[in-house]
């Protein structure tokens, strides 16, 4: 693969590229989905090919090929370089691509590689979770259990001399259930996603995900739709992570700076929140779904302190953004697969713990709502607006939690929300997610401690 990568880079350079890089990938996946005890989907796939980029003067071109012969790769690289040459007459801003050179091989050590686990064992695991969810309560009327595993081998090389080989191994189990009682129909979703081999599916958390999901769905049967109001909100660790991700993380992706598409453009080095607030993105945490040693451009990663003591201190960089902004590269470029171009992305994103006790935080809240876990969220960094939706929550009255509510949305402004966070607890938890940007999905994690936001619009019926 190394020699094939070199063929691509040489061909792109020869055709006139100032910078070129290539990702050669071999990914094997299995997905097993079961509903009501019956297999709905058993799927195996192999994703194999090379993605090649060429750059000259500020113009990029990208192409891909599944033909992994020297001839196939050479011709794709040459045509990509020609495309960059054709585009470079139209660019407005010239710049170069610089960055440190890395040569490394990072192999993943797993106890049980996916390919060594018989398909019957994987199906048996899914069946066990599906049965567990359905057997939890008579009111569970539908179960859907999905297992997925993905093994990736990836070579990344560029014309600066970087040549990195990385491996990744991601298993995930999820349980979606529907509960029905009279006229009330509710759904719940729980998942466990980690970085590691099949042994990671043998933990207690993974082995009980069906039961956890059903317990939530049964609980939701007695929930009510929230009433819309402007109120104080305590976010649980998972929802807090989603807030950090949507309300701030995306706006810190450095490709927004040359594009002038973030409300944080003039805020680097400035106060964006209270002094007790620290937001980080850290791909070096062990065994997490959003962790990686080198990014998809072959740059070594490290922890990023996005907000330190309330000040915006660091952005998420690709080689292009660090080169154009003359900032330190920090290995945040990610691509869904070889079919996509790497762009600045988050990894494991979280709020650092503070000093409040969780009970203390709740009892200090006169009226509001404790919101837990999440359904989804999205943001527009250029407009400075975001929203995210909690799966469920509990109304708080006089410092005590009461009635369960569901599907509660919060809308807010990126530049205003951090200032409203007045208390951060000392607990900490992360949860697995998948993040979409520019039609590319990547696995990630988000989390933090419990934290309180004052006076935000909470949507409801």
């Amino acid at each position: 693969m190394e020699s094939l990568a070199q063929v691509a880079i040489d061909a792109a350079k020869k055709a006139g590229a100032a910078f070129a890089d290539v990702r050669i990938e071999n990914t094997v996946t299995t997905i097993i989905e079961m509903s009501d005890g019956v297999t709905k989907r058993s799927m195996a796939s192999r994703l194999k090919g090379a993605g090649i980029r060429a750059f000259i003067d500020g113009a990029w071109a990208f192409g891909q090929t599944a033909d992994l012969t020297p001839r196939g790769v050479r011709s794709t690289a040459a045509s990509v370089a020609k495309m960059a040459l054709a585009t470079h007459n139209r660019i407005a801003e010239r710049f170069d691509i610089n960055g440190p050179v890395f040569k490394d091989e990072v192999r993943m050590k797993v106890k049980r590689p996916f390919e060594d686990v018989p398909i019957d064992e994987k199906i048996g695991f899914v069946k066990m979770i599906d049965d567990q969810a359905r057997g939890f309560d008579k009111r569970i009327v539908n179960t859907r259990t999905t297992y997925g595993d993905m093994w990736t081998e990836l070579y990344i090389a560029n014309s600066l001399g970087t040549m990195v080989y990385i491996e990744n191994s991601l298993p995930r189990i999820s349980s979606t259930v529907t509960a029905k009682d009279g006229g009330s129909r509710q759904r719940a979703f729980k998942s466990v996603g980690v970085k590691g081999g099949f042994e990671e599916m043998e933990t207690k958390r993974a082995q009980t995900v069906g039961e956890t999901s059903s317990r939530l769905a049964i609980g939701l049967l007695s929930s009510v739709a929230a009433k819309g109001a402007v109120t104080d909100v305590i976010m649980d660790p998972v929802l807090n992570g989603v807030m950090v991700h949507e309300a701030f993380g995306h706006a810190c992706e450095a490709d927004n700076w040359p594009a002038h598409s973030t409300v944080l453009e003039d805020k680097v080095g400035k106060v964006v929140g209270p002094e007790h607030l620290n937001l980080s993105d850290d791909p070096t945490l062990p065994s997490l779904r959003g962790s990686f040693a080198y990014d998809w451009e072959g740059t070594k990663t490290r922890k990023r302190h996005l907000v330190k003591k309330g000040v915006l201190t660091e952005l998420l960089h690709s080689l292009e953004s660090s080169s154009r902004l003359s900032m330190e590269p920090n290995g945040a470029a990610r691509a869904q697969s070889f079919m996509h171009e790497p762009i600045p992305r988050m990894s494991n994103t979280f709020m650092e713990p503070g000093d409040w006790g969780v009970d203390e935080l709740i009892s200090d809240t006169h009226e509001g709502v404790l919101l837990c876990e999440f359904n989804y969220g999205y943001t527009e960094p250029a407009k400075g607006q975001f929203m995210f939706q909690a799966s469920y929550g509990y109304l708080i009255k006089n410092g005590e939690t009461g009635q369960m509510v569901r599907d509660v949305s919060i809308a807010g402004q990126i530049l205003e929300v951090l200032a409203k966070i007045d208390a951060v607890a000392k607990d900490f938890q992360m949860d697995a997610g998948t993040c979409g940007k520019g039609a590319q999905m990547v696995p990630d994690m988000s989390g933090g401690p419990h934290a309180r936001i004052r006076a935000v619009p909470v949507g409801g019926m």
Binding site: R41, T87, K127, A225, P457
Partner: protein
């Protein structure tokens, strides 16, 4: 080319049968797409993607397996066949599975799905089109600090589907997409807006309109404020309707979701579930429709299905599996985005039938309410609860737009929303697989702050 893909697919089906499949299906998809991107008002990158792969579905007894590969090499397709069979053999039987679809006596003719001008668009012509979009976008906003992003992409592709019951079909299609995203700043205020068009034909996209409209919308968003909330009417543009009713209702009448009891719609065929002003048709045969096709993702013939007539539910959207399970006829709504997945159920062209009036007319009839230009939110498909942010919205007073809105949410259950449709406009617009007009929801809970 198409004939070669049919032959490859036939070979895969035969191989699967030899290895013990009772039924097998091979789906081959190939595409070539070209894209060009604008950053901050200037072209910055171009890309070319060539994708070809094969998905193989095997049935052993009543168990099903599926595998795909991202090449069309013989060895790789063989690997997909072997893995698909092995998965089918290991899977748990589905007692409701009856059969893959049989070939149809005849297939409809659907016009306007392929455009030579899209397939043959040169990089220079593509660049010229995107520059026209950017120039049109610049004009309304030259006096303000601004940033223009834009993107044009064209793609052409061939799909072939063969199964062991005799289905053997292929089709060539094209599509073109242009979008523009505008950011403007003024006196410490920063806002944005976007616009896009998608079409099977090159002449179906208008770069100047996309650029200019995005900029004009962004300008109107300057000075957005919050309002006092409460129950009030909501006017929705065709884009917002496509998200909220299009996806939010289309997903609820997906027969698989209904059969499993996961949808907020259940046992409702023949019942009045919506305002009598709502007529909805799913039309796979619409000339030039982005969602149109001759056959669905399993090779069943496409059709026009009446979904909602005067608010009464007439039909769900079915694939062969759900139709067999309910013992009704298949509506041909099996869908897969590419060879890389098993068929699911989705709309073809989900069309809300127009009534009368423009968006301006609808707004002028509202005394106090909000206009939802766009939202990214969909309802909880099980409870029907919708809590949606106005990604872009306006406050309406005495029939006129007063100012843009920020941090504002709409809350309503979909079952109420469907019944509270009090006006349907005539201004239908096609967006991907939806064709929708503006509508008015009599009242919903607005929260803002």
């Amino acid at each position: 080319m198409a004939q070669r893909f049919v032959e490859l697919a036939e070979k895969a089906v035969k191989a699967a049968e030899r290895l013990g499949a009772n039924q097998a299906e091979a789906y081959i998809g190939t595409s070539r797409s070209f894209g060009i991107d604008v950053e901050n008002g200037s072209i910055k990158s171009a890309s070319e993607r060539r994708d070809a792969g094969c998905g193989v579905r095997c049935v052993v007894g009543k168990s099903i397996g599926f595998a795909y590969v991202t090449t069309l090499n013989d060895d790789d397709i063989d690997e997909a066949v072997r893995k698909s069979i092995a998965l089918a053999k290991a899977s748990i039987q589905d007692p409701d599975f009856v059969s893959l679809p049989s070939p149809e006596a005849s297939y409809p003719i659907v016009r306007g799905l392929f455009d030579k001008a899209v397939e043959g668009l040169s990089p220079d012509d593509a660049a010229e089109m995107i520059v026209r979009c950017v120039d049109a976008a610049k004009e309304p906003i030259t006096k303000r600090r601004n940033s223009i992003q834009a993107e044009l992409s064209v793609s052409s592709g061939t799909k072939a589907i063969v199964n062991s019951l005799g289905v053997s079909q292929s089709a060539k299609t094209t599509s073109a997409l242009i979008d523009s995203y505008i950011t403007i700043k003024e006196n410490g205020d920063q806002t944005s807006s976007s616009e896009y068009q998608v079409s099977r034909e090159l002449k179906g996209i208008d770069p100047e309109w996309v650029g200019r409209t995005a900029s004009e919308n962004a300008l109107r968003n300057l000075g957005s404020k919050t309002i006092e909330g409460g129950e009030m009417p909501v006017v929705m543009t065709p884009l917002a309707v496509a998200t909220v009713i299009g996806s939010g209702f289309a997903g609820a009448i997906n027969a698989e979701e209904v059969q499993y009891g996961r949808s907020y719609i259940s046992d409702a065929i023949g019942s009045q579930i919506a305002s009598e002003r709502l007529h909805i048709v799913d039309d796979g045969l619409l000339k030039g429709g982005v969602g149109s096709r001759v056959f669905d993702a399993e090779g069943a013939r496409s059709q026009r299905t009446e979904v909602l007539k005067e608010g009464v539910l007439r039909s769900l959207l079915h694939s062969s599996y759900t139709a067999n399970k309910d013992k009704v006829s298949n509506t041909g709504n099996a869908y897969r985005p590419s060879y890389a997945g098993t068929p699911m159920i989705a709309t073809s062209n989900f069309m809300i039938m127009p009534d009368r009036g423009t968006l301006d007319n609808l707004v002028s009839e509202v005394k106090k309410g909000v206009l939802c230009m766009n939202t990214g939110d969909r309802p909880n498909m099980t409870t029907g609860d919708l809590s949606a942010m106005l990604m872009e919205g306006f406050y309406i007073e005495n029939g006129e737009l007063r100012h843009g809105l920020k941090s504002t949410l709409i809350g309503i259950n979909m079952r109420d929303l469907l019944k509270r449709v009090s006006r349907v406009g005539a201004d239908t617009r096609a967006t991907a697989s939806m064709v929708t007009p503006s509508i008015v929801i009599e009242s919903a809970k607005i929260t803002s702050g």
